[in-house]
């Protein structure tokens, strides 16, 4: 997550101080990615060092304001225009867990998949409830929630796919039961064998 660009986007709308930036960031994203005020000040320090923001005075209560610089605006535009990179996929604990589960003897992968699906479906229900309660005009929060919903849905679909693959592999490994006409022919008294 880019806190740096999030803060630049807020400062692009006028000078703000640290605590204000934190509250506005959380309001736009429905507190999905909570920030502590320490992270905000550390990030502001780096942005100041790199010339992307500059101090903009203090108010009577001692709040230190920051403003975006021209260089900061260029950086922000570049961020909006460039796609979010997928070259380094974020570490996915679930994919790693299943990759390990299929290779470690004695682990019932089906149980792992089912347990995860229950958990993810519950999360999906919770996100959907939040969405039905969210204000219709709060577009930023609605979009963040929908992102969470689509990700959870993708995970459930992937788990269904894993389960189907496991079932197919199990069926391939099982020795096929003899079909009715391949059963040993019972001995018939009248010698009617083929």
């Amino acid at each position: 997550m880019s806190i740096k660009h999030g803060l630049l986007a807020l400062l692009d709308q006028g000078p703000r101080y640290g605590y204000q930036l934190r509250s506005e960031f959380e309001a736009r994203t429905g507190s999905t990615w909570p920030l502590n005020v320490g992270q905000v000040y550390t990030t502001l320090g780096r942005l100041d060092r790199d010339g992307l923001v500059a101090p903009d005075g203090e108010d009577d209560e001692g709040h230190v304001f920051y403003r975006i610089t021209d260089e900061g605006r260029l950086e922000l535009r570049a961020w909006f225009e460039a796609p979010v990179s997928r070259t380094n996929p974020p570490r996915d604990e679930l994919a790693i867990k299943l990759a390990m589960a299929v290779t470690v003897p004695g682990i019932d992968v089906g149980v792992v998949v089912q347990g995860q699906r229950t958990h993810t479906l519950r999360a999906l229900q919770d996100y959907t409830r939040l969405k039905t309660r969210a204000a219709q005009d709060d577009m930023a929060w609605q979009l963040v929630l929908e992102s969470l919903i689509f990700h959870a849905e993708a995970e459930v679909r992937w788990l269904d796919h894993c389960e189907a693959r496991l079932a197919r592999r199990a069926a391939e490994r099982e020795p096929a039961a003899p079909a009715p006409d391949e059963r040993p022919t019972p001995v018939r008294r009248r010698g009617a064998r083929r």
Partner: protein, 249 residues
């Protein structure tokens, strides 16, 4: 059945050890086995599971369109097995609304006539049936489309007519088989909002779907595999807690 608040509520739909077997001997197929399920007023239940897991069979049995080979199905406390054909038909017209995968709208009838049809078949006067149809069409946001024929409507609008037909009158049990099937995500959501609203006013809804995103609108999700219920999931008591923990896992 005991509710979260400790009261007891009579389920609108109850399945007791329900099984359905097709064929016999070598061609015996167990479509459903030992299914116990209760859906109370105000509850939306989603049924998920892979193709052939018994989802549609469960819905057919719940609506009295098929009979179980084991166990019993009760609607509003009445065992369906004890009803003769005439009483069963009356129960289906008055208490149970269906939304099918294929919409089954009559092309020669207008939207309002399609919606009023089950009520008129039940002996209601045309005027009263039309009034009820208008209310049901309003519920799905189609109050100005009553005089249109199905062929002059978009897929999403036709789907909503089918839903209005399922909701018309005082139906307390709504059974929907992939009602969001051919719809884009925004229209699909509108359909789910309508079903949800009917739940809030005291109906029970059973929604069969393979889309987790749509199942998530339900209060409870059950999962079928090979004709058996293998899982039962409800939302957390406090949805916000999911976010304050900083993620879903």
């Amino acid at each position: 059945m005991t509710t979260a608040t400790g009261g007891t509520v009579e389920p609108i739909l109850e399945l007791r050890s329900v099984g359905r077997v097709h064929g016999r001997g070598d061609v015996r197929v167990e479509a459903l086995a030992g299914v116990d399920l209760a859906v109370v007023p105000g509850e939306m239940l989603a049924v998920m599971g892979p193709s052939g897991s018994g989802k549609s069979t469960l819905l057919m049995l719940a609506g009295g369109l098929d009979r179980p080979t084991d166990g019993e199905v009760l609607v509003e406390g009445r065992p369906l097995g004890g009803l003769n054909r005439r009483r069963m038909a009356a129960l289906r017209r008055r208490s149970i609304g269906y939304v099918f995968q294929d919409l089954n709208l009559v092309p020669a009838l207008t939207a309002a006539e399609n919606v009023a049809l089950p009520l008129e078949l039940d002996g209601m006067s045309t005027r009263r049936a039309r009034q009820a149809a208008h209310e049901a069409l309003t519920e799905v946001g189609l109050q100005h489309f009553g005089e249109r024929f199905p062929d002059d409507m978009s897929g999403g609008q036709q789907q909503r007519v089918a839903i209005a037909r399922a909701l018309v009158g005082e139906r307390r049990l709504v059974l929907a088989d992939e009602p969001t099937g051919a719809l884009d995500s925004t229209t699909g959501e509108a359909v789910l909002r309508v079903l949800r609203a009917r739940c809030e006013s005291g109906a029970a809804v059973v929604l069969v779907t393979h889309e987790a995103r749509h199942a998530a609108w339900a209060d409870r999700i059950v999962f079928l595999r090979d004709g058996r219920l293998v899982d039962d999931t409800g939302p957390s008591a406090d949805a916000e807690s999911l976010l304050s923990r900083g993620g879903s896992r």
